[in-house]
């Protein structure tokens, strides 16, 4: 194994971290150089992620453990392992790919958008920091590090939301989001403390071996805290109120990173449910909590989207409803896995839910990026005051339409493939749930048709912005996401077999392999 | 040992009092000072719980720096909590 591949997990965090702190320095030398530097960092990060993923899948998708630190020999003769671990299994690598995609699109998009505004240096720095946090959450094998990376994402994300200090609404949104994120982070920390107090360890794999069957009361409380805190950061419904504020007020490129951030929290939730507790403690009620939250999320998200007048809030509620689909699918998978006789449709549900994550990142990202251009052109975010964008912005119109159709599950785009898997597997558990999911999907199409009709169609309205062509880097960024949408739509089997199935396998039956990968090297 | 026990109980009681005052006082400056006092007492409690390094950090960061930031924020906003 060569050195680059061996150190790839830590490089994935280190490169953007160094970049984030070097950006202000490079920014002193000129904005052109800074944009080039940030783009370079993003490309390098994506390249490392791609290389790591390629060799991971080529090596049969067995978990990779990367250890920072070594052993400490005490004068008393006791030897204690002092180490921080990154552990990557199929799910982590899959999430890493989503994040890399979102990061590349966001950085490409932003490289021209903010050319003339002040504070661009700070924003580039924060975006890279957010990317660091998300990668860290997805790769760490240690609960406390998970909390640290969670807080890094919270701070970076909220700074991005409140980035427009000249706008009162964005400050309001940032304050609310930050309070809720901090609260959820503290609950997660409380859970970490409880687990440490119970078992004296922080490593996920170690804790997973210690949590015996019929978990103790402390385990249940810790699970409740972790589940609620992470579900809130993912935007599950009774606790979704921050999501439209944050997505709506953040700059266009940051919105897509916020979606990736929510998905990383969702990843944390799945990791806790399937790996940390998994077969040790998995009552059916847990699956039904997840399904209940998911159904609420789907219904409320889509119906609230229907009545929004603010374009970005509309898309944001759409994004909330999509989180519901992922939770529904994984909840169904969990229910099927923990039933007395596990049934195969649970695996299809997991595949569908995870496949939907990458599809959602691409489609919602496309919509947010297109909406950013539309809002800039129309000079307002109110759908009531928009119209006729399609006359001038051909590519943006096409990308928005593609994203909307794909998200609503129109064949032959990618959203249809993943939603079909979700519907069919959910139907096996409970037909009612499948019907709700399908109806919500139809409603989602109506939502986006309304947005499309109001913003793009109709007679030309007077643009407040000077008639400038859309910068080429934005088109490239949206083109990248559109390519993903079309490619995943036309060749779903190819991608499901290669990247989604290992991830679903990691949830379905990968718990022992995950634990084994760490515990075999723990004593040495 | 007895003395330490009593000290610990007094400290913990005072922490609660400080927190309650910080929440209930109408004058925001007073409530920030109550919060700082509670923080200092928590750092004493950390010392009693055999965590001197955490105690130093809590006294320096939790009590002093945080209070300074609160006071800066108060100067730029307003001091009284409105009805």
């Amino acid at each position: 194994m060569n050195a680059l591949l061996h150190h790839a997990p830590v490089l994935l965090v280190a490169v953007p971290l160094l970049g984030a702190f070097a950006v202000p320095l490079v920014g002193k030398l000129g904005s052109g150089l800074r944009r080039f530097f940030v783009g370079l960092i993003a490309l390098l990060t994506t390249a490392i992620a791609g290389y790591l993923a390629a060799s991971f899948y080529a090596a049969g998708a067995s978990p990779i453990v990367y250890v920072l630190g070594g052993r400490l020999s005490l004068p008393s003769g006791m030897v204690a392992p002092i180490r921080i671990m990154f552990e990557l299994d199929g799910l982590s690598v899959f999430m890493m790919l989503i994040t890399a995609l979102a990061a590349l699109a966001a950085v490409l998009y932003t490289s021209s958008f903010w050319k003339e505004r002040s504070g661009a240096t700070l924003k580039d720095s924060l975006m890279l920091l957010l990317i660091v946090g998300i990668f860290g959450m997805e790769m760490t094998g240690d609960l406390f590090n998970f909390f640290v990376f969670l807080e890094i994402t919270s701070i970076a994300a909220c700074s991005l939301v409140g980035f427009r200090v000249w706008n009162g609404r964005s400050q309001e949104a940032a304050f609310k989001v930050m309070t809720l994120y901090t609260l959820s982070g503290l609950f997660v920390l409380l859970a970490v403390g409880l687990l440490y107090g119970q078992y004296g360890g922080l490593n996920i794999a170690y804790l997973a071996t210690m949590i015996g069957s019929g978990a103790a009361l402390v385990d249940k409380i810790a699970l409740g805290l972790l589940l609620t805190g992470l579900a809130m950061k993912a935007g599950a419904v009774p606790m979704h109120m921050w999501a439209p504020d944050a997505y709506g007020e953040a700059p266009g490129a940051a919105s897509i990173l916020l979606v990736a951030n929510s998905q990383a929290s969702l990843y944390g939730l799945f990791r806790v449910l399937f790996t940390l507790y998994g077969s040790a403690y998995s009552p059916q009620s847990l699956a039904w909590i997840l399904i209940g939250l998911a159904v609420l999320t789907i219904i409320v998200g889509v119906t609230m989207a229907l009545v929004q007048r603010d374009l970005k809030r509309l898309i944001a509620f759409g994004a909330v409803s999509q989180i519901g689909y992922m939770m529904l699918a994984v909840g169904v998978g969990f229910a099927a896995m923990t039933a007395l006789q596990p049934s195969d449709f649970g695996f299809v549900a997991l595949q569908g839910g995870l496949f939907h994550m990458i599809n959602d990142a691409a489609c919602i990202g496309l919509l947010f990026l297109a909406a950013g251009i539309v809002i800039r052109r129309a000079g307002t975010r109110d759908l009531q005051g928009m119209g006729g964008i399609a006359h001038d912005l051909k590519w943006t119109t096409a990308f928005f339409m593609l994203g909307a159709f794909a998200l609503a599950g129109m064949p032959p785009l990618n959203g249809f493939a993943s939603k079909l898997m979700i519907y069919e597997s959910t139907f096996r558990l409970s037909p009612v749930l499948a019907i709700v999911a399908i109806l919500a999907s139809i409603l989602l199409l109506a939502v986006f048709l309304r947005a499309f009709q109001a913003a793009f169609l109709g007679p030309r309205t007077e643009p407040t912005d000077v008639m400038r062509p859309v910068p080429i880097s934005m088109l490239v960024s949206m083109g990248l996401l559109a390519l993903v949408v079309v490619a995943f739509g036309l060749f779903p089997g190819f991608f499901v077999d290669r990247i989604v199935t290992p991830a679903a396998q990691a949830l379905w039956s990968g718990r022992d392999a995950y634990i084994q990968a760490v515990m075999s090297g723990m004593g040495g | 040992m007895i003395a330490e026990t009593i000290l610990q109980i007094v400290t913990l009681t005072l922490i609660i009092c400080g927190a309650v005052l910080a929440v209930t006082l109408r004058d925001l400056l007073s409530s920030v000072i109550a919060l700082a006092a509670a923080s200092l007492l928590v750092s004493l409690e950390f010392y009693l719980l055999q965590a001197p390094d955490v105690a130093i950090a809590e006294a320096g960061i939790g009590a002093a720096l945080t209070t300074a930031i609160y006071i800066i924020a108060l100067r730029r906003t307003r001091r009284k909590e409105q009805q």
Partner: protein, 116 residues
């Protein structure tokens, strides 16, 4: 209830007091104070988790290796958590200052442009 459990009760009380401030106080700075109190409660909880009755501070120089130690890991966690707490508090307060600049008020009831 032994003395060792009293700090747990106090940290739980701190969390409750902080939540009370978040739920029933309308002033933004009071809400930030509430977040700070919850943070303090969680930190106290972490340190208490690492405490062993009769243990000594985990500082090894010049000490007898056979004495009972309190656990060092929760203390390291608490240090990290204190620093993170400072960052979040500073960020929250800066948002409060900017909100005051735009809305001319700190009353949470009046700061709800984002709704529905």
């Amino acid at each position: 209830m032994t003395l060792g459990q009293v700090p747990f009760v106090v940290s739980a009380l701190l969390v409750v007091i902080g939540l009370y401030a978040l739920l029933f106080k309308r002033n933004l700075i009071k809400m930030v104070i509430g977040v700070s109190i919850i943070e303090t409660g969680v930190n106290l909880f972490l340190v208490t988790v690492g405490y062993r009755a009769g243990g000594q501070a985990p500082i090894y120089t010049y000490s007898d290796p056979t004495t009972l130690r309190v656990l060092p890991t929760p203390q390291a966690l608490t240090l990290t958590s204190i620093v993170i707490g400072l960052a979040t508090t500073a960020l929250l307060l800066s948002f409060v200052v900017f909100i005051h600049r735009h809305y001319q008020t700190l009353d949470a009831e009046k700061i709800k442009e984002l709704k529905g």
